[in-house]
Point group: C2
Chain length 370, copies 2
């Protein structure tokens, strides 16, 4: 028995056309520990936009119902050479009802349940998912459970990464995002100190209202002084940056070094011996990362990705993290959405131009059945 | 009993004047495991230039015998706030004769011997050095032993860093330098594969003549193709970059990713899962480091400094490395010099404008007694 339903595909051709389209797709019978999920809700995460919109020109794209064709500029076209011509599904995560299962025990146990899942093709009416990665939602609806994986595990992953590095304080950029608010709740629960960096006064207010102690506004004239004061008070020498482009991480490293070198007894031409680390976990800004020579050579800038982190953390730790998410879905790990769209609605000009901006806290939810 | 002799000092004032001057200095009696070394030779390493010349304007400086005053431009002036007003010695390493020692056994055993040492004020007629860090030179003269520490331990440190990361191949930029040639000899001895990146055909020839297998010329039109081929053949996913500024490391990471993603079965929006690491160990170029979004998020760019590396490697490993240097001073660890200058000669316009360029392989040796 096979099932058919609508699914979104994204194709980048070698001549620079990015095509997003909704197509009728046939889903095979789930095997082993696979389940077939009738998808009810899936968030559009920044990590989805890399493959969905990237740097393409959606202002001047050709729109038709359920389809859009946009030009992909260089260097982003040749930078994605490996995907040229491939018709790719999209959507990391979502939630829905398990309507069929392979013969594996874990899969069979989920039949009839509402679950959060991570199929990698969540922008679809159906999805084949790994039962081991499904989170039963109990009485919660799909909307509540749709973002159970990417943001919660990422936010918990930051805290674990800091702990694994022997740190008890974190700097976070674009800190008023869904993820950033979640991180504030986790840090408050875990006693991890957190320096929040935002760009607007209303975001300062939002985080302060949540009980955040350290919120720094990068639009203020005295941003660097605010940042140094917060780093000094918390001892935060590890940070997480979803923006990537420009000098966001650079400024944090500079402030970290200024705090560290002010505490040194003696001048060193090599800067302080304080380790300073920034993890870039996203590319909200596709311009290059700029690192100035203003913090010696005792620093580290790394990409941070959820999957390799989870592998490094190990099965037991990941199971603990998942249980914590499941038990706190409406509290610590709650997500907010700005708008809901169906699959065709995802591909309208208004929607794309809005969600591709990835404005802080303005997340879209896809409900594939409308 | 105290000793007096000439020593170089460097002072950056808060109003932007960098003053280098030779002054008569008094050296105290060595205590404990200190020795007093009559310095005979000291190399001007790139790591010395950070404090000696930095980004100051030596083209339009005021020169007088044994003294030069140059303007330090922004942002380098405020970037070095921690040293404003401090009169600092300079010169990481050198060699000379031990003429007095503290009462410690290690120090006493060195009296009358010629040693290499790491006093941090080697541009001087005398230096107080830690006997534990001195390397007895036996029959070798000071010129042969002057560069026994920084370059040899750094080159050995690269190989150890790669091994500690489970790697058996290295990429090295500016590879025709004294350090780069040393690294070639070490890698040949140790069976570590090495991709040498240089900027001129004569440097390609020089390294090929030394038996280097992989030498890539970044001035060639097909540089990226050459680099990809060498990375593919060696499997080199860890590199060392003394330049720092610009896109040198960026290009290497990009080539690494292209090699890794070409070997993947399936397209991933996050790039390959191959770890890619560049260590920036110098700042020959003081412009910002530029990292483009063209190699996913599985990468790492870090500052690399010798002292923290040695601490991480541990006493036993460091002792092994030092013994290897001592036994191969005229072979594997030999250095070449372009010119010799005395202390006053260091501060002439001709000399400064020449050595501050840090041209590959054109190192100066300071002989403080002329």
């Amino acid at each position: 028995m096979t099932t058919t339903g609508k699914q979104l595909f994204t194709t980048l051709s070698s001549d620079g056309k990015l095509t997003l389209e909704i197509a009728e797709e046939t889903f095979p019978e789930p095997k082993g520990n696979q389940v077939l999920v009738k998808m009810e809700a899936a968030p559009i995460n920044p990590s989805d936009l890399a493959i969905l919109t990237g740097a393409a020109d959606f202002e001047n794209a050709e729109y038709s119902p359920g389809k859009v064709v946009a030009d992909m500029p260089e260097p982003f076209l040749s930078g994605q050479k490996a995907r040229h011509g491939q018709r790719l599904p999209a959507g990391n995560e979502g939630a829905g009802e398990v309507i069929a299962a392979g013969d594996g025990d874990t899969a069979q146990a989920l039949v009839g349940q509402r679950v959060a899942c991570v199929p990698g093709h969540a922008f679809s009416q159906y999805a084949i998912a790994d039962a081991m990665m499904c989170l039963p939602l109990g009485e919660h609806d799909a909307r509540t459970g749709a973002s159970s994986f990417v943001n919660p595990m990422t936010a918990l992953g930051f805290v674990e990464t800091a702990k694994m590095a022997g740190q008890d304080a974190i700097v976070h950029l674009a800190a008023a995002s869904n993820l950033g608010r979640m991180l504030n709740r986790i840090c408050q629960e875990d006693g991890m100190k957190l320096v929040n960096i935002v760009r607007k006064q209303e975001q300062v207010n939002l985080l302060k209202d949540m009980g955040a102690t350290h919120v720094v506004n990068s639009s203020d004239d005295d941003y660097m002084a605010q940042l140094r004061a917060a780093i000094k008070e918390t001892g935060a020498f590890i940070g997480f940056d979803p923006i990537g482009g420009g000098q966001n991480s650079d400024h944090v490293l500079k402030a970290m070094e200024q705090v560290a070198s002010a505490q040194m007894d003696e001048y060193s031409r090599y800067g302080s011996n304080q380790d300073k680390t920034m993890h870039i976990y996203g590319r909200l800004d596709l311009s290059p990362t700029i690192l100035t020579p203003s913090y010696g050579l005792q620093w580290n800038v790394s990409g941070w990705l959820l999957t390799p982190f989870l592998q490094k953390a190990g099965m037991e730790k990941v199971a603990q993290m998942r249980a914590r998410v499941q038990q706190n879905l409406t509290g610590t790990f709650a997500s907010q959405y700005k708008a809901e769209v169906d699959l065709e609605g995802m591909l309208t000009k208004d929607a794309i131009l809005d969600y591709r901006q990835m404005k802080t806290g303005e997340k879209y939810l896809v409900t594939p059945w409308g």
